[in-house]
Symmetry: C2
Subunit: 193 residues, 2 copies
DNA sequence: GGAGCAAACCTATGGCGATTAGGCTAAGAC
DNA sequence: GTCTTAGCCTAATCGCCATAGGTTTGCTCC
C-alpha cells in the first residue's frame, strides 16, 4: 500500500531519467542525478528500483513501449509501401526526438525481462503486419523483419552518432532508404514464392 | 625521444584496451584496468593519452582503421553483387569477432578528430567503390552508401545487442539481407537514371 | 482514537574509478 | 660527467554506486 505523499513513483522516476538521458546523454543518467531531480537522496531509490541497472531497465521498458505506440499509430490505416514509409518515418523520428531514450531501447543486457519481451513483440508484430502487405509470410517474413529493423536502426543510430558526416541532406537520404527497402522487400517476397 | 624501456606505448595501450573491451564489455574499459594490464599505475597513463576519453579515441581510430582494412581486403578483386556480399560479410564478421572494438567505432563524440575522419573516409570509399559496380554515381551513390551502412550497422548492432531474440538462423537472415540490399541498390541505380 | 505495521526516507560508511598536483629516477643527449 | 626530460610514482580530491541500519509517519484496523 503505497503512501499518497510519496515523492518517488515509477512514473516520476522514469520521467526524470528520460529527461536526463535526452538532454545530457547516457553518462548523465546516475542515481544521484535522478534522486536530486525527485528531491530525494540516492539510497532512497533502492526502495523503488534495483539500483542503476534497475532504472535503466524501467526506462528501457518504457522506451520500447513508446516506440511500439508510435509505430502502431503510424501503420494504422495504411498498407504496402505507404505503411512502410510511415512506419520508417515514425521509427527514425522517435530516434531523433528522444535520442537518449532510443539508445537505451536496444543497448543492454535485459536479462530476459518479461516486459521487455512483450513490448519488443509488439514492435515486431507491427513490422510484421507491414510485411504482410508485401505478401511475406512465415519464416521469410521474419528474415525480412530483421532486414527492415536493421536498416531503420542503422539509420537512426548512424544519424545519432554523427556517422553521416557529409553535408548531404539527411531527409533525402531517408527517402532513398525507404525506396531501397521497398525494393528489397519486393525481392524477398518474390524469392519466397 | 621516447625511452627504450617504456612499459606504456600507444600500441600496447590499444592492445590492452581492445582485449578488455572484447572480453569484458564496455564497462570494463577503465584506466585502472588498462594500467594494471600494462604493469603501471593509472595516473601514469596521462603522460600518454588524454584520460579515459583519450583511450577511447585511440581505440576508435584503431577500430575504424581495422574495419577499413577488412572491408578493402574483402572487396578487392570483386565487383557487383559479389563485392557487396563479401563486404557485407566482412563487416558483420568484424562486429562478431570484435564486438567491443566495433561498438566503439561508431558510438562516440569524436570531436572532429582528423584520424577518425581519415579512417572513416577510407571505409566510405570502399563502400562507394562497391556501389560504382551498380552504376551509382555522385549524390545518388552517397545516399546509397547511407542505405548500405545503415543496413550493415543495424544488423551488426542488433545481433550484438541480442535484438534477434527468436531462434531463427542468423546466417540465413544475413543472406536475405544481402539479397534485399542488392535489390535496393538496383532500384536506386535505376531511379538515378 | 490509539497501536502497530510497513512504506518512504535518512545518515553513515566503504569502495572504486577519474583526475590533478607534485616529486623521484634514470636513460640518453651533449 | 652533467643535465634535461621521459616515464613513473604517491598522495589526495571528488563523484558515484551500493549496503547497513535507524527514524519518521501515513494507513489500517480494532
Amino acid at each position: 500500500m503505497p503512501r499518497a505523499d510519496a515523492r518517488v513513483t515509477r512514473e516520476r522516476l522514469i520521467e526524470s531519467a528520460v529527461a536526463l538521458l535526452d538532454e545530457h546523454g547516457p553518462e548523465a543518467l546516475t542515481l544521484t542525478a535522478v534522486a536530486r531531480a525527485l528531491g530525494v537522496r540516492a539510497p532512497s531509490l533502492y526502495h523503488h528500483v534495483d539500483g542503476l541497472d534497475g532504472v535503466r531497465l524501467e526506462v528501457r521498458v518504457h522506451g520500447i513501449e513508446r516506440l511500439g505506440d508510435a509505430l502502431q499509430r503510424a501503420s494504422s490505416g495504411r498498407s504496402g509501401r505507404d505503411a512502410l514509409s510511415a512506419v520508417a518515418r515514425a521509427y527514425v523520428d522517435f530516434g531523433r526526438h528522444q535520442p537518449g531514450l532510443y539508445a537505451l531501447t536496444l543497448a543492454g543486457s535485459d536479462g530476459g525481462d518479461e516486459r521487455v519481451r512483450a513490448a519488443g513483440a509488439r514492435v515486431l508484430d507491427t513490422v510484421l503486419a507491414v510485411l504482410h502487405g508485401y505478401g511475406l509470410q512465415d519464416e521469410a517474413a521474419l528474415h525480412a523483419t530483421r532486414f527492415v529493423r536493421s536498416a531503420l536502426h542503422g539509420f537512426a543510430a548512424l544519424e545519432r552518432a554523427g556517422g553521416f558526416a557529409l553535408s548531404l541532406d539527411q531527409d533525402a537520404s531517408f527517402d532513398h532508404l525507404v525506396d531501397a527497402v521497398d525494393a528489397g522487400l519486393e525481392r524477398l517476397a518474390n524469392a519466397q514464392a
